[in-house]
């Protein structure tokens, strides 16, 4: 049902404005590919429907008042209607009940999100102005990940290049983070200069990268594929240009990738001093 509405809206909007026409009239959060992102999506839809339900009642009462109790329609005011303890108690108690109903699944999900125990892989992520560093703690693999060259050329002021010609414009990097499917991955997030934030919507994880502190989060990808996100904490001039790309591979592909990385960085990877 929500899908039909979505499509109807998208088509209507598309007809109205055939303008930039990149056909991406996205309206809603996507469920993503991890337990946590799907949980967040379910909660999002639950709260959204609650809000829509309340909105129908509240806006309905407002609209009825505006239409029915218009002076121009001859409405006479009932000035005795100034308070009613019963009604006021009811509209205080009902919201409390609704809030409790919302809070219970939210609290459950939150406990799950913050449980980083029993992870199988640990990756340390460090944010720098303006790139990410990934260190595979068990494997001694480490590399930097920066905006891909095509996006970088195109995004320059007066580059004369059309962003529409660049695949995954501003959402592509030279070296993506690679993880195996179906493994609990623990991410340790920190920063080398200012605060950044690491986010991939499809994985449902977001945490600030704070210099001097290490934050933890986890995910377990259910599907292989490439998933994209961006830095989401203002970190200076090129904040918009340090995307996050995660490639989820099968276990075998992941091992092969790991071997290739180890071979590449036979002399240990450059220290952060290179910045």
């Amino acid at each position: 049902m929500s899908k039909t509405i979505k499509h109807a809206l998208a088509v209507a909007a598309g007809l109205l404005l055939a303008g930039p026409a990149l056909a991406a009239w996205d309206l809603n959060l996507k469920p993503g590919i991890t337990e946590l992102s799907q949980e967040a999506y379910r909660l999002h839809m639950l709260i959204l429907w609650w809000c829509i339900g309340i909105a129908v009642v509240v806006f309905g009462a407002m609209i009825v008042s505006i239409v029915k109790f218009r002076k121009s329609a001859g409405a006479q005011p009932d000035t005795s209607l100034t308070h009613s303890t019963t009604v006021e108690v009811i509209w205080t108690v009902i919201p409390i009940v609704i809030l409790v109903v919302m809070a219970i699944p939210a609290a459950r999900a939150l406990i799950k999100i913050e449980d980083t125990r029993n992870s199988q892989i640990s990756i340390k992520i460090t944010g720098f102005q303006w790139k990410w560093q990934y260190e595979y703690l068990e494997e001694k693999v480490s590399f930097y990940s920066t905006l891909d060259a095509a996006s970088n050329e195109t995004r320059m002021k007066g580059s004369g290049k059309n962003p529409a010609d660049v695949p995954d414009y501003l959402l592509n990097v030279d070296n993506p983070m690679v993880v195996p499917v179906g493994k609990k991955v623990r991410l340790l997030v920190t920063a080398g200069d200012v605060i950044h934030a690491w986010w991939v919507p499809a994985l449902g994880v977001k945490k600030d990268a704070i210099p001097g502190f290490v934050n933890e989060m986890w995910f377990e990808a259910k599907e292989v594929g490439t998933f994209r996100g961006q830095c989401v904490e203002l970190c200076g001039r090129d904040h918009g240009f340090m995307p996050v790309v995660v490639e989820v591979k099968s276990e075998a592909d992941y091992q092969a990738w790991l071997e290739a990385q180890k071979a590449k960085s036979a002399p240990p990877a450059a220290a952060p001093a290179a910045i």
Binding site: M62, F69, D208, F213, R237, G240
Partner: protein, 533 residues
């Protein structure tokens, strides 16, 4: 009662001077101690800042019209978003409310003027200096602050010469706000007309009283936070630097301990304005007056215990996340009570749709939408998906533009004839209303979609998948911006319509004291205090 007596004595004593009316020329404004003159200056200043901040918003929307960088270098873009927010929060919304307070509190409590007129002058005249200083940062080496209006370290510490200037400007704004707040409290507590007990005060007075306490509580906290930034930068302290044993997140805690009450400072007086307007044009007393007062007070109290909901992604402990999620959800209860009471005020009323009522209705609908997205943002597991995306941008613009700003405009349209003595062009004001209400939604509603699709805030350029809604949002932005020029025209030509306003201005039976005075209100509002039954 004794207050009223002492008032009377000062009055007979002062009469000789009072009858002169305002001083001539520039002295009237420079040396102003009259609450109406100072109120007018606050309103005009606020309008100037609204237009300046609005122009910056136009630059932002222009750059975001299409993917790719066309107009603003990313550094300049960041400086625009930062300055836009600082100007709108401290320059447009807050001074507009202080202007309304100056004009209306003495009129509504039956006083001749504000309690502390010279401090009133000082608190206003600080502002032009504060904002000149802030705007001058656009010209200094390194440019204006560009680390966001929240001034998070370590990023903000990378600013150039702008840093001490911006910090001093914030200190000045804080001093001005605190003085304004003291004046409001002293006036309300001491200068009410005989018989006006606290629970007989108009709601605008009530909301401002509570706002004034919030201001006094939190402006010093902001001053402390920015002073620590200053010493970190110039005197090698390490409050916010981990390498020296400090903590950058501590700044965020301190900032938002100011920042969340600040959010309510920007909305409570608008609640007050709307609570004056809806009953009047519904021809019915406000439903649940006492509940409205208690709800306002509860919101003010809760505002002190929810600050960290701005920081769910900083890596707080689970217990902290739980606490701030639940306390934030609680705010929905008193806010809901207010919305229900406004609706019940209209229920079985006899409603007419003059411009102030139209803006109040727009406020009621659109602020509620901002309330819904606020509730969604409180749910921590999903906030991890919304945080720092355009969903947040849409949320706080819904509560600040059709919330605070429409509240201010409703107030201006309601009281302007009382100020000038003339009725403005009602037809144009209705056009202004319709264009504003339509385009504010074209501007901000699509930003919900952008945020849910994953577009971060504060980025000058975006992936092509976000192009369509950004285009729509920008078009809405330009149209909304242009529409506000109509507001300026209506206000400044209001005397030229030649339509004299009556004492009560609007046809429905008035309920508060300002409507017992002639229009325009006399230079000294109530020479002898009226008696409230």
């Amino acid at each position: 009662m004794s207050n009223a007596q002492s008032l009377d004595t000062t009055h007979s004593h002062d009469h000789g001077h009072d009858d002169h009316g305002p001083a001539k020329g520039i002295k009237r404004w420079l040396y102003a101690t009259n609450h109406k003159d100072i109120g007018t200056m606050y309103m005009v200043f606020s309008l100037a800042m609204f237009l300046t901040g609005g122009l910056m918003a136009m630059f932002i929307r222009l750059e975001l019209l299409q993917p790719g960088i066309q107009f603003l270098d990313p550094g300049k873009f960041n400086s625009m978003t930062t300055m836009h927010a600082l100007l709108m929060v401290f320059g447009a919304v807050m001074p507009a409310f202080v202007g309304l307070a100056n004009w209306m509190i003495p009129l509504q409590v039956g006083a001749p003027d504000m309690a502390l007129p010279r401090m009133n002058n000082f608190s206003f005249w600080i502002l032009p200096f504060a904002f000149s200083l802030l705007l001058l940062t656009l010209l200094v080496p390194g440019g204006s602050p560009a680390g966001g209006w929240t001034l998070y370290p370590p990023l903000t510490l990378q600013s150039g010469d702008a840093l001490p200037m911006a910090i001093f400007a914030v200190h000045l704004m804080g001093a001005s706000s605190i003085m304004g707040a003291i004046n409001v409290i002293v006036t309300i507590m001491n200068m009410r007309a005989p018989g006006m007990s606290l629970l007989k005060m108009p709601l605008f007075v009530w909301t401002w009283l509570i706002t004034a306490y919030l201001l006094i509580a939190v402006m010093p906290v902001l001053a402390g936070a920015v002073t620590m930034l200053l010493t970190d930068h110039f005197f090698h302290t390490s409050f916010f630097s981990a390498s020296g044993g400090g903590d950058p997140v501590m700044f965020q805690h301190i900032f938002w301990f100011f920042g969340h009450p600040e959010v309510y400072i920007m909305i409570l007086p608008a609640f007050g304005v709307v609570s004056e307007i809806i009953p009047r044009f519904s021809r019915k007393p406000l439903f649940g007056y006492d509940a409205m007062v208690y709800a306002t007070a509860s919101i003010a109290f809760l505002s002190f215990i929810v600050w960290a909901h701005h920081m769910f992604t900083t890596g707080m402990p689970l217990a902290g996340e739980m606490f701030f999620m639940l306390s934030t959800m609680l705010i929905a209860i008193p806010t809901g009570v207010k919305v229900f009471n406004w609706t019940a005020t209209m229920w079985k009323g006899s409603i007419s749709f003059e411009p102030p009522m139209l803006f109040a209705l727009s406020f009621l609908f659109l602020f509620t939408i901002g309330g819904f997205s606020g509730l969604m943002l409180a749910i921590v597991p999903v906030d991890f998906q919304y945080h720092d995306t355009y969903f947040v941008v849409a949320h706080f613009h819904y509560v600040l533009v059709p919330g605070a700003i429409f509240g201010i405009m409703a107030g201006v349209y309601y009281w302007l004839p009382k100020w000038t003595g003339y009725m403005y062009d009602i037809k144009l004001a209705k056009i202004h209303f319709w264009l504003s209400t339509i385009f504010v939604n074209v501007l901000f509603f699509p930003q919900h979609f952008l945020g849910l699709a994953g577009m971060p805030r504060r980025i000058p350029d975006y992936s092509t998948q976000f192009a369509d809604w950004n285009f729509v949002s920008s078009i809405g932005g330009f149209a909304f911006g242009l529409t506000q020029l109509l507001f300026v025209y209506i206000v400044f030509t209001s005397k030229k319509t030649g339509i004299k306003a009556t004492d009560r201005v609007w046809e429905p039976e008035p309920q508060s004291l300002e409507w017992t005075l002639p229009s325009p209100a006399p230079y000294h509002s109530f020479e002898t205090p009226p008696v409230v039954k």
